[in-house]
């Protein structure tokens, strides 16, 4: 538990917390975003870099809901797919530009988050399974041949009319920057502290006067928004995709494992998870998928059994603060 060492703070937002937030932004958040923005100048494979940035955004988005509230949405990819198809339908059926597409992607994921917010009444495994079922159901609807006129059903969409790899890459970096800011804010503001209190003991948090239903709904919608935006940018950048790519359960699983591997509820943890594990995936996963799957499975098991709080806990256990 990285945060238990921090002393409880009084009601007023204290200035040390705020100063720490600025420090995290200056020394951890901003350099990461700048690095992501200039990466295409240093390395030629833009699609690979785009995938990295997408996973960085998704991992931080999942961090918002899982790290700070303890709700584990296995169906997180549902928001990503909703964003991708929101973008695709706007561009394809309504012939609007990519800006409108991104706005619809954001709106689609937030509306989906509102529709699914009653799931937050469920706890533990019930929530995880229900959110997975919701994402599967959405996939079944989008990919149904009966909706061929709207979504192109299982045959996939092509958005070559708005294809703009450089611009969409930068939009993805912008989404990652937004997610980074959000995590820094949650780590250093009262709201995030209250969310973590709620995660650790909902009854006490409610008695201390924190409106827990409103708090976790806000976290849920913000998390959905990040995934939806990432999905929109993905649709824009990839340009040709199928329902099973946009709703691939691996997006959820990867985001969960990356976040957990580095350390949930920290800023750098999910980033380390993405860089190390997604790097490993690209190094060996594409040529020999089943051996990668084997290593990956063993790694996940070892991680949960021996390092359940992630890499960051190696440092926090020794009293070193990880941003």
């Amino acid at each position: 538990m990285p945060d238990r060492a921090e002393p409880p703070r009084a009601g007023i937002a204290s200035s040390p917390m705020r100063a720490r937030g600025w420090r995290d932004l200056a020394f951890a958040g901003a350099p990461l975003v700048v690095l992501a923005a200039i990466a295409p100048a240093l390395y030629g494979n833009q699609l690979l870099l785009f995938n990295f940035v997408t996973f960085l955004a998704l991992a931080q988005g999942l961090n918002v809901i899982y790290g700070f509230t303890g709700y584990l949405p296995f169906g997180y990819v549902g928001f990503f797919g909703a964003g991708a198809y929101g973008f695709a339908i706007t561009v394809m059926d309504f012939h609007l530009g990519p800006g409108a597409g991104m706005a619809v992607a954001a709106a689609a994921s937030v509306v989906l988050g509102m529709i699914l917010s009653p799931l937050l009444r469920l706890s533990g495994a019930y929530f995880a399974i229900a959110s997975l079922a919701a994402a599967q159901a959405l996939y079944d609807i989008v990919s149904n041949p009966a909706l061929d006129d709207v979504t192109k059903g299982p045959y996939g969409v092509s958005l070559s009319s708005v294809f703009a790899p450089d611009l969409s890459y930068n939009v993805a970096v912008g989404i990652f920057a937004f997610a980074t800011l959000l995590v820094i804010w949650l780590r250093n503001a009262r709201f995030g502290l209250a969310l973590r209190a709620m995660r650790d003991d909902p009854v006490s948090a409610a008695m201390a006067g924190f409106p827990i239903v409103r708090g976790r709904t806000i976290a849920w919608l913000l998390s959905a928004l990040i995934a939806g935006l990432a999905g929109g940018a993905y649709a824009w950048h990839i340009s040709v995709f199928y329902p099973e790519t946009a709703f691939d359960i691996s997006f959820s699983i990867f985001a969960v494992v990356f976040t957990l591997f580095g350390g949930a509820a920290t800023l750098l943890g999910p980033v380390c998870g993405v860089v190390l594990l997604y790097g490993l995936y690209n190094a060996i996963g594409i040529t020999v998928p089943q051996y990668f799957q084997l290593i990956y499975g063993l790694l996940i098991m070892a991680l949960v059994l021996f390092l359940p709080d992630g890499l960051a806990s190696l440092l926090t256990r020794r009293g070193i603060r990880v941003p």
Binding site: L119, A125, I129, A133, I253, L294, G297
Partner: protein, 291 residues
């Protein structure tokens, strides 16, 4: 047609009860979610396939063999992972991830060993031709699989309600800490329940070629979703509620396939979400909702 759909739905319901039963037993006793359930089922299916193809062994004999071997594997597997997992802050959530890792390992090993081609056992092995049941005509293989499922469910009910170990198991299900405090060896009881849960998955796998169609190493994911729908409708953590969930699931699935086949895939997921939202504890459930 309606009668045909309902009767075959009930027959499938019995089989789906067996598919969900092991998962539910493990969740009920240990409060952990075995995401690798579908993969153990797949292994059971492949075991039956290879025993049949190589030695011509009948699925019944294979079923007994699979039960014994899977029980013998599941029992020590418990000691290997579960006690350590339960030390963590949020064991229920982490179990999802841990067993996801296990399912990846099993799937990868199965892919390396068997390849990705589909395998199946011909239905005539369990009897040739259809048989009549309550005015519907069904393949004999369905009837036999349903019968074996019913026997297995009955045996689990007998174990839980008529043996001393079963009583201890139910005590652990109600309250693990109090069971431990009153001197029950919760680890031993849980390990046996874990072994039985894995063995039930294997048994369901033996009959999977007849009920679910041909098998691939990646079939576990779909099986899991169906199993989740069954046990959530019945109620998570109540093994006998699984039977009710299985029946409801089987009948609705067959009705959907008969009258609205293009949307039949949606059914397990929609059913799961609706039941969780309207009736979060399942139809026969205990209180589980917090805040």
């Amino acid at each position: 047609m309606l009668q045909q759909a309902i009767v075959s739905g009930l027959v499938f319901g019995l089989y789906f009860t067996l598919v969900g039963l092991g998962l539910n037993l493990i969740f009920g006793v240990m409060r952990i979610v075995n995401i690798a359930h579908g993969d153990f089922l797949m292994l059971g299916g492949y075991a039956a396939y290879w025993l049949f193809t190589l030695f011509g062994m009948s699925p019944f004999l294979a079923a007994v063999l699979v039960l014994v071997v899977f029980l013998a594997v599941g029992w020590p597997l418990y000691y290997l992972i579960v006690p350590r997992l339960q030390l963590a802050r949020d064991a229920e959530m982490l179990s999802l991830i841990l067993f996801f890792g296990l399912s990846q390992v099993i799937e990868a090993l199965a892919t390396i060993a068997f390849g990705t081609t589909e395998h199946s056992i011909p239905g005539r092995v369990l009897g040739i031709g259809p048989f009549g049941l309550l005015g519907a005509m069904l393949p004999k293989a369905w009837g036999v699989s349903a019968l074996v499922s019913a026997i297995a469910v009955g045996a689990v009910a007998l174990y839980l309600y008529r043996t001393r170990l079963g009583t201890l198991t139910r005590a652990v299900m109600v309250n693990r800490d109090e069971a431990l405090a009153s001197g029950i060896d919760t680890n031993r009881v849980s390990a046996i329940a874990f072994g039985i849960g894995i063995a039930l998955a294997g048994l369901a796998g033996v009959f999977a070629p007849f009920m679910l169609g041909s098998m691939t190493p990646s079939m576990g994911v779909d099986v899991n979703l169906a199993a989740f729908a069954v046990i959530v409708v019945g109620s998570l953590g109540n093994p006998l509620g699984t039977a009710l969930g299985g029946m409801i699931y089987g009948v609705s699935l067959l009705l959907m396939q008969t009258y609205l086949s293009s949307w039949a895939n949606l059914l397990p997921n929609l059913m799961l979400i609706l039941v969780l939202l309207v009736w979060p504890t399942g139809i026969l459930g205990r209180e589980v909702r917090r805040a």
